[in-house]
Amino acid sequence: MTTPSTQPTHVRPNYMLIWLYLFVMTIAEVLLAFELPVSQNLKLILLLILAIWKAMLVAMFFMHLKFERWRLRLIFIVPLPLAIILVTTVIMEKVF
């Protein structure tokens, strides 16, 4: 019945540091969206990268995915290509 203690042991991440990263990245995103004189497409790409990076930080460190077995990571990873396939196909469709 014990479980968290039977997890593979790992060094506990520095949650406050991750929090700082997330905070800084959020500020960066808001600034990017409004202040910086960057072209629309570049803005889009950078914002997406920032968003995905933040999401990965939360997933890897707060949800401890970095320290779990591959089998567990797979459960979360599997829907992602499906999502991409759906959205890409429908956009290709619409563009046509």
Partner: protein, 594 residues
């Protein structure tokens, strides 16, 4: 989110350990997976009947357009005027027949009943991982069914626009003619999706984490493999439908315009979302059937399943490919032709693993010591009928061929061959097969055989000619084929189909009678009536609450028929320990466990 801190205590002796449960806790609000499976069984068979009654009315109209239907008088005048089915009612019939059959009959019969009933029994555990969530899954499914049924009793009548609910017809009452029932359809689907997802989370977790010692992945029966993969499909596909249904509901109620082209929405978006769910859905409707049929054919042939590993990989292959073929339902939607070609290729590819399975079933039966009991007959019927359905599917997969046959009766023939000829025959096999385990009695063999032969004959008489009239150009969901001159010569075939369909429906009385009568008067079942190898047969009939007293050990694979080690018997169950067997070593707790 915490589940019970302890597992259900095991075995028949369990009942002595706590106060006897009231009738309500034991049979109505039960968390026992077997009771939940049986609850699903009764409810789904009811909805199967509803779907069948709707089909009878459809066949009346198609066979005898414009003639007053016997018994039509009991229906409201706005729908059935003077006994003659009106077009507004006809489109409701067609829509609701599809909806009830797919969502509330076949899916719950295959998954709700057999995933719930079989999984814990076949992998050697006491119950599902989350028994209370399991109970909720059933009640939500029932609620969804009742919401859908309510559609018949609201002003304007039931939902229309086809079971695929294409927008903008479904989003705008001015286009469909119905308001409340369209909304009820959306709500019902969202609730059903929730039920399905909850159930699937249960099935996946139970199979991954709760297998008995010795029950390795490749010792699991194919029925469990199929149910596992089906659950994965369900857990990923249903939420997409839920999202789409919610957007549809908002279009219908609060005035959003997701699918309304006039205001910037996209009708094709609905089609993409629906079929992105819809195609995995049809594999949800066939994979459990294939799995159970594999078990039954191995049993009926007294031989191991031919190519067990390739069967597993075929199931996985079908499920995997099933995500990238959805566009084949939309070849005629005006979509990007490049995409059309892509979908054509992937659809043709998916025929391969299905074919592998058909060959393996044949290979299993080849030179087997065949026992033609009722489940085996129906299972063989499944293989042959599914093959025909699959072959007609190849026609549709080729986009150029699909252009003339899309939305004709040819498609209707195909889908009925795979859903009735496939899934339903598999159910006619599975229900008597596990009936002893559920109810402690046997269904009558004689009635079962008569039912099988008559059903098989009338079924083919009903659905095979649909290929012909489809090729001849009769459209799908059409109210009166005779309004077209080019279809008039085919009308005698329509009549023939209708007569066959009435006979087919009538024959099902045999099954209903057999099922209900045997509950009380069926022969009492021996513990292992089919001489099968599954873990469930080590338990008395009906299986007791909590299943096993002590966690059983598994010593071999599931298809050890005619094994030399078995001695003079031609089967060797998974749970039997031979003197040469060693007990499986349980995994060390630190590696995970519970």
């Amino acid at each position: 989110m915490t589940s019970v801190a302890h597992a259900k205590p095991a075995g028949g002796a369990h009942d002595a350990h706590h106060a006897p449960m009231s009738f309500w806790r034991k049979y109505i609000f039960s968390t026992d997976h077997k009771i939940i499976g049986i609850q699903f069984l009764f409810v789904s068979l009811f909805f199967l009947l509803v779907g069948g009654l709707l089909a009878m009315q459809i066949r009346w109209q198609l066979g005898f357009p414009g003639k007053p239907m016997p018994g039509g008088g009991i229906l409201p005048e706005s729908m059935v005027s003077g006994g003659v089915i009106l077009p507004e009612y006809y489109i409701q019939l067609v829509t609701m027949h599809g909806t009830f059959m797919v969502f509330f009959a076949i899916m719950p019969l295959l998954v709700g009943v057999y995933a719930n009933f079989l999984i814990p029994l076949k992998i050697g555990t006491h119950d599902m991982a989350f028994p209370r969530i399991n109970m909720w899954s059933f009640w939500l499914a029932l609620l969804a069914g009742l919401i859908m049924l309510a559609g018949f009793f609201v002003p304007d009548g039931a939902a229309r626009c086809g079971w695929t609910m294409y927008a903008p017809c479904s989003a705008r009452p001015d286009l469909s003619g119905a308001t409340y029932s369209q909304q009820l359809w959306s709500i019902s689907i969202v609730v059903l999706g929730l039920s399905s997802v909850m159930g699937s989370v249960n099935y996946i977790t139970t199979i991954i984490n709760h297998r008995a010692p010795g029950m390795t992945w490749f010792r699991m029966p194919l029925s469990v493999w199929a149910l596992f993969i089906t659950a994965i499909l369900a857990v990923l596909a249903l939420p997409v439908l839920q999202g789409a249904a919610i957007m549809l509901l908002f279009d219908q109620t609060i005035g959003t315009h997701f699918f309304d082209p006039g205001a910037g929405g996209q009708p094709l978006l609905w089609q993409h979302l629906f079929w992105f769910f819809g195609h995995p859905e049809v594999y949800i409707l066939i994979l459990p059937a294939m799995g159970m049929v594999s078990d039954i054919i191995a049993n009926g042939s007294r031989k191991p399943i031919f190519g067990y590993h390739s069967m597993v990989f075929a199931i996985i292959g079908i499920a995997f490919l099933g995500w990238i073929v959805w566009g084949h339902h939309m070849f005629m939607s005006g979509m990007n032709p490049t995409l059309g070609s892509t979908f054509m290729v992937s659809t043709l590819l998916i025929a391969v693993p299905s074919a592998v399975k058909v060959f393996n079933w044949m290979g299993t039966m080849w030179r087997g010591n065949l026992r033609f009991h009722v489940p085996m007959l129906n299972a063989i019927g499944f293989v042959s009928m599914f093959t025909i359905g699959g072959l007609s599917g190849i026609f549709m997969a080729a986009t150029p061929v699909d252009i003339p046959i899309h939305d004709t009766q040819f498609i209707v023939a195909h889908l009925h061959y795979v859903l009735f000829g496939g899934s339903l025959f598999a159910l006619f096999a599975a229900i008597p097969y596990w009936y002893p385990k559920m109810f402690g009695r046997m269904m009558s063999e004689r009635i079962g055989k008569l039912h099988f032969f008559l059903t098989f004959i009338f079924y083919n008489m009903t659905f095979f000619p649909m290929h012909i009239i489809g090729m001849g150009g009769q459209m799908r969901r059409i109210y009166d084929p005779t309004i077209y001159d080019f279809l008039k010569p085919q009308q005698p075939i329509n009549e023939f189909i209708s007569y066959s369909a009435f006979a087919l429906f009538a024959v099902q009385i045999l099954f209903a009678f057999n099922f209900l009568w045997s509950l009380k008067f069926g022969k009492k079942a021996p513990q292992n009536p089919w001489e099968d190898n599954g873990m469930e047969w080590s338990l008395p009939n009906p299986a007791p609450h909590g299943n096993w007293d002590k966690t059983p050990n598994v010593y071999r694979g599931p298809y050890e028929f005619s094994a030399p080690e078995a001695g003079d018997k031609d089967y060797l169950p998974q749970y039997v320990k031979l003197p040469t067997d060693r007990d499986p070593i349980p995994a060390p707790l630190s590696a995970g466990g519970h």
